[in-house]
């Protein structure tokens, strides 16, 4: 019994999953597979409440969404409820608003995650040095992530982007006056460039998130190897390209994946800053609107199914990148 516990434990340290491809973990794996049957339910018991809870709360609603997506169901016309076939999907795919919001969702996620990753990595590299006030700088850099999203969106909309008295145009006025001009440009940021305004605010909020994960990764680097490379005359650029970057790859992937999970679902900023107007709606907002304001349950569900299918396709690839996380020792 004790031998069994030890060996099964060995396979499941951060070192390797039970079905790792080849390697020493396969040999260690065998005793676990031959584990006596009665133990199985005892081992499973602690897992079941959480698993059951997740299936009931997150999976069953999707089944319901799937069923409703094939129904003609608008809460405003309760008598017309019935089977609709694939009509909702046809409407969903031909609806220019919905297509636009699919495009926006992809645009937001890709741009925000990539820019935040690059900025976050740059900041992490800058903070991975010893300098005066490092702790303080790190603290104020975290702040954007700790402002409640809807509160941050309100501040960006009213206190920063407002064309008359927002901080941005106020600063422009101030700078222009400094140079003696009384006629500074005062653009209406959200009306002119709604998507850029939303993305700027979200990049501001998510860069600290990326920075924190990447900074932790940088600090786990084996410094002796880097010092050896320095002694051998490697330039900082060479060290970055051939040592830091490969080492940081998994942290970049982790930060990118987690960031995407949250940014793709973003609702608060779109809702607060533009209310989905000016062609800036993303899928969460459009589905919310179709269901909550238009009360078209069938169409909202069809859109939901499309999102889920799209996400599953993307997530299948994304999960492959995280699957390395369970294998890597250092993570």
């Amino acid at each position: 019994m004790s031998k069994d516990t030890v060996s099964s434990r060995t396979t499941t340290g951060p070192g390797g999953p039970s079905h790792g491809p080849g390697g020493p973990s396969d040999a260690l794996d065998r005793p676990q597979r031959r584990a006596p049957k009665p133990r199985a339910w005892g081992t499973r018991a602690p897992l079941l409440p959480a698993l059951l809870f997740m299936v009931v709360i997150t999976q069953l609603p999707f089944v319901a969404t799937l069923i409703i997506s094939f129904m003609n169901w608008n809460a405003l016309y309760p008598n017309d409820r019935g089977f609709a076939g694939i009509d909702n999907f046809k409407t969903a795919f031909t609806d220019p608003d919905l297509r636009n919001s699919i495009f926006n969702t992809i645009l937001y996620t890709v741009v925000i995650v990539l820019v935040a990753l690059v900025l976050g990595f740059a900041l992490a590299l800058m903070l991975d040095r010893s300098f005066r006030g490092r702790g303080f700088v790190r603290t104020i850099l975290i702040a954007p992530f700790l402002v409640v999203p809807v509160a941050a969106a309100l501040v960006w909309k009213h206190a920063i982007f407002n064309p008359e008295y927002g901080l941005l145009n106020g600063t422009i006025t101030w700078v222009w006056r400094l140079f003696g001009s009384d006629n500074p440009p005062q653009p209406d940021w959200i009306t002119n460039t709604p998507k850029l305004a939303i993305m700027a605010a979200l990049i501001w909020q998510w860069t600290p998130f990326m920075m924190l994960i990447l900074l932790a990764g940088l600090q786990g680097r084996p410094l002796d190897v880097i010092e050896a490379a320095q002694v051998d005359g490697a330039s900082p650029v060479q060290i970055f390209r051939h040592m830091t970057l490969p080492y940081m790859r998994q942290y970049l992937e982790l930060a990118g994946l987690l960031g995407s999970i949250y940014v793709v679902q973003n609702f608060d900023y779109v809702f607060t800053m533009t209310s989905g107007g000016l062609g800036s709606a993303n899928l969460p907002y459009t589905i919310y609107q179709t269901f909550y304001q238009a009360h078209d349950y069938g169409l909202a569900s069809a859109a939901g199914v499309i999102v889920v299918v799209g996400t599953i396709i993307i997530a299948t690839f994304a999960l492959r990148t995280v699957s390395t996380l369970l294998r890597e020792d250092q993570l």
Binding site: T43, H158, A159
Partner: protein
């Protein structure tokens, strides 16, 4: 914290005088740049706090009046000085939903993490990916059926519904985090406890929970923050009685007249619990955000 760019001591004895000086200059420039970028990122937060302490007249000037006299009028307005609408019920609802769901998450996640790390079930990594995949499905797609079910069960505008939903929202993250923390506990200690005759409950109480306490703290912090921040579900499923503070915040904003100071005061007040918790536990924040992957 040695570095790649500026560490004369590590670049060996070959470092000559002029090169040393050049590197140190570059290091200084980099420090200044770091400070500038950090301040730039902090400006919106600082501006939010500063505006919240200005009068409405001073808040709405162009160019901005940075040095205007400070006042707590904005906060008094937020706490219902003239409107009579107190934010307290919504703040209490938010605290109830966030803390309640965090406790529920821990109760479910710790045993699950045990079954995924210390005495693992078969195919434990598949189970891990199932948990993570539920995080990838956009929550909004499940919103309608949850609304309809809640309507039929009479659970709309009930804060306990939010507790259950926030638990589901955070449970996958918590399982991932707790698994990585429990996997750190040396097997020898658990073996010793077993030989001494400690049962499962005793092992949890005396060994697993105390030893993974920092991990539990990190998990709680992250779950609390995400639950406190959530707005989409709260907006659809809560109403008069159970509105959380993000919902109160959106309804508080009126689009007429001078209201900037009030909005900023509201934003600060609602963000304060998260700001305090996050600043107080920065290292926990890092552990939590990386799902426990970074220690």
């Amino acid at each position: 914290m040695s570095t790649t760019t500026a560490a004369p001591t590590t670049s060996g004895a070959s470092t000559t005088g002029p090169r040393h000086k050049k590197q140190s200059n570059r290091s200084k420039a980099l420090t200044v740049l770091t400070w500038l970028v950090a301040i730039l990122f902090f400006v919106p937060v600082a501006w939010m706090v500063l505006t919240s302490l200005h009068s409405e007249q001073d808040a709405a000037t162009n160019p901005p009046s940075v040095l205007a006299p400070l006042t707590t009028q904005g906060y008094r307005e937020f706490f219902g000085a003239t409107s009579g609408a107190s934010p307290w019920p919504s703040l209490i609802n938010s605290a109830y939903a966030s803390i309640g769901s965090t406790i529920l998450v821990l109760i479910l996640a710790i045993p699950a993490a045990y079954a995924l790390s210390i005495r693992p079930v078969r195919k434990w990594s598949d189970v891990m990916f199932f948990f993570l995949s539920t995080k990838m499905l956009p929550a909004v797609a499940g919103l309608l059926p949850i609304y309809l079910i809640a309507q039929n069960l009479g659970l709309l505008d009930n804060i306990n519904l939010m507790v259950v939903l926030y638990t589901a929202m955070n449970l996958p993250i918590a399982v991932w985090m707790m698994r990585s923390f429990l996997a750190e506990i040396p097997i020898a200690i658990l073996e010793a406890a077993r030989i001494d005759g400690a049962g499962l409950l005793m092992t949890f109480r005396k060994i697993l929970i105390p030893m993974s306490a920092p991990g539990i703290a990190a998990t709680s912090l992250i779950c609390f923050i995400f639950a406190w921040n959530e707005m989409l579900f709260a907006r659809v499923l809560t109403g008069v009685r159970s509105a959380t503070s993000p919902v109160f915040l959106t309804s508080f904003v009126t689009s007429q007249g001078l209201f900037l100071a009030k909005v900023c005061a509201a934003a600060v007040a609602v963000s304060l619990p998260v700001l305090i918790a996050g600043f107080a536990a920065q290292d926990k924040l890092v552990q939590g955000l990386s799902l426990g992957a970074v220690k």
